[in-house]
């Protein structure tokens, strides 16, 4: 653990990424305090005002303050990122652990399910599922989570395959510990490192996916502001109001970049060998 912190603290980019991640999270939590205006309150006298001292990032088509909307949007984007990655990780761990520990038919079944899910381009699958469901923030979180667990399942399975042959596992089995107990108490804690990295890299991917869906108008619906749907509204008036399109995009870019830097820093600090198993493609949403 000490070696991990030492390695991480030497990686300047990862530290910057981590700091930005922290600041973003604080800003999202403190949005009601920080936001200079009500994000939902229209102001007909200030429609599409350019950035000024009063509205730092300008106003939108119905005079709402863009900065305030982006602060509240950060809450939604981060929440979607965290919850959907949580769902994906839970499913991935459960299925990956079962497959890796039990092997045989369970393994074959789970891995075929993984293959099956990977056949569908994620964005097409997301859209198809969303078409059948009632749109809400919860649906978006659930759908992104349910279509994003395959990488984690593969990782966990690989870890379990290696760990279950180790002596401490064989000993636990010989004194009659139950499978669930061995998986939960003995193997899983040792398999968490790559999962943690996959989670850190999964959050920006989920944020990109959510903002992409919201940009198409098929993600989080108004009146909730997210970076994606501010961009969606902004593209209608881009020739009149560049600030509606530039700032939310930059916010997404900076957020995703910071999470990726942090995630890769953690990965390199934990174990440089993980580089191969958790590729950079894990960081891209679709």
């Amino acid at each position: 653990m000490k070696a991990f912190w030492r390695a991480l603290s030497k990686n300047r980019l990862a530290l910057i990424g981590g700091a930005v991640v922290l600041v973003l999270a604080l800003m999202a939590v403190a949005a009601p305090i920080l936001a200079p205006h009500d994000p939902h309150k229209p102001d007909v006298k200030r429609i599409l005002d350019p950035p000024s001292a009063r509205h730092w990032l300008g106003t939108d088509q119905i005079g709402r303050d863009v900065l305030s909307r982006m602060l509240y949007g950060a809450r939604v984007s981060l929440a979607v990122g965290f919850v959907s990655v949580g769902i994906a990780t839970a499913i991935g761990i459960a299925l990956g652990a079962a497959a890796g520990y039990h092997g045989g038919a369970v393994d074959a079944g789970v891995m075929r399910l993984v293959d099956l899910m990977l056949v569908f381009p994620r964005f097409f699958l997301l859209l198809a599922v969303l078409a059948f469901l009632k749109p809400s923030i919860w649906t978006i979180m659930a759908v992104i989570g349910l279509t994003g667990w395959m990488g984690v399942a593969r990782l966990v399975r690989a870890e379990f395959l290696a760990l279950k042959e180790r002596e401490f596992v064989v000993w636990s089995q010989s004194i009659g510990a139950s499978a669930l107990r061995i998986i939960w108490r003995h193997i899983l804690p040792n398999a968490m490192a790559p999962v943690l990295v996959a989670m850190t890299l999964g959050i920006p991917a989920a944020i990109l996916t959510e903002s992409g869906l919201s940009f198409l108008g098929l993600g989080v619906r108004p009146p909730y502001a997210t970076w994606g749907n501010i961009l969606n509204e902004g593209k209608e008036v881009i020739e009149l109001a560049w600030w509606l399109s530039v700032y939310p995009g930059l916010a997404i870019l900076v957020t995703v970049l910071s999470y990726n830097l942090l995630g890769e820093g953690i990965r390199d600090a934990l174990d440089p060998r993980l580089r191969q198993s958790i590729g950079r493609f894990g960081a891209r949403g679709r």
Binding site: L118, V119, F120, P121, R122, F123, F124, L125, L127, A128, L130, A131, F132, P204, L208, S211, G212, F215, L216, G217, L218, L231, K235, I238, E239, W242, S245, V246, P248, G249, I252, L253, V254, T255, V256, L257, N260, L261, R275, G279, R280, F281, A283, R284, R286
Partner: protein, 292 residues
């Protein structure tokens, strides 16, 4: 009045239920659907025109397919040299700047990049068209202008679609190359006195390409998925745009057909990746145990 209306509605409802086979149990409905898609019969669109779904897809599939193949070729053609150059000159200025590009490329939302390029190159500078595939007056243009018009419509969408993939592949190529050039046989090729270009270009590159082909196969669904965004923003009449329209209109036959076609595309692409794997690496060959 309301009574009559209800009766009418009920009769129409029953007719519709029968038409779509909704009175049958779910497994039977599914089986019927499966039976029909074997013959590429995806039913008719729910849209007012009610055209057969397969016909709609037949118009759009070639466009998406062509775009994705062009994108793939561009990505490989650019990422391989970039990756090799950053690997052979590790930590040089070139390597560092490509690393920055990779990280930024990964973090840039493609839809945002698309909108920014549209406004900058299309609207402000007026260099490139920002939507569609052809000008409305295309038919009346002379031949070469027609070609240029078509190509210029493709520049922005392809640039946006290749951006993220380029970042990923050049990184993978660099990583793979770095591992290969440390191997003994590369050293011995150098020791034999072969010129560096042959050592890198022939001995190392071929081995470094192996993992790339796997990644290429695996990332194809991502590339095809990306066409949803690109086609929607640039108003390109392909599968992605069809999908978004169908989702907006809850046109379920079209949605399901799209999903089936796109998944089959991915399968074929993966098969091609597997086969080309054996082309590059003679150790891996499709086994022909049946033949003597």
């Amino acid at each position: 009045m309301t009574g009559d209306w209800n009766v009418m509605e009920k009769a129409a409802l029953e007719e519709l239920i029968k038409l779509y086979g909704l009175d049958k149990p779910l497994y039977e409905q599914y089986w019927n659907w499966l039976k029909r898609i074997v013959f590429l019969d995806f039913g008719r669109s729910f849209a007012p025109h009610g055209r057969p779904v397969i016909q709609m897809i037949r118009e759009r599939l070639p466009i998406t397919l062509a775009l994705n193949i062009i994108e793939m070729l561009i990505i490989v053609a650019m990422a391989v040299p970039v990756g090799v150059m950053s690997a052979t000159r590790q930590y040089s200025a070139f390597d560092k700047s490509t690393t920055v590009f990779v990280f930024v490329g990964f973090a840039t939302p493609d839809f945002w990049l698309a909108v920014m390029l549209q406004i900058l190159l299309g609207v402000h500078l007026g260099w490139l068209p920002i939507s569609g595939l052809r000008l409305p007056v295309w038919e009346y243009l002379p031949f070469w202008q027609q070609q240029w018009d078509f190509a210029s419509h493709l520049i922005l969408p392809i640039a946006v679609a290749t951006f993220g993939g380029l970042a990923g592949f050049s990184r993978y190529m660099r990583q793979s190359m770095l591992e290969v050039i440390r191997q003994d046989y590369v050293q011995s090729a150098r020791a034999k006195g072969l010129p560096e270009s042959v050592v890198i270009g022939k001995h190392a590159l071929r081995n470094a390409m192996l993992p790339i082909i796997t990644v290429l196969g695996l990332s194809l669904p991502g590339l095809i998925g990306g066409s949803v965004i690109v086609e929607t923003i640039f108003a390109i009449p392909g599968m992605g745009q069809l999908m978004v329209q169908a989702v907006w209109e809850r046109d379920y036959p079209v949605i399901m057909a799209n999903l089936v076609i796109v998944a089959s595309l991915t399968l074929v692409a993966n098969l091609i990746a597997d086969l080309s794997y054996s082309l590059i690496d003679p150790r891996i060959r499709v086994s022909r145990r049946g033949r003597r």
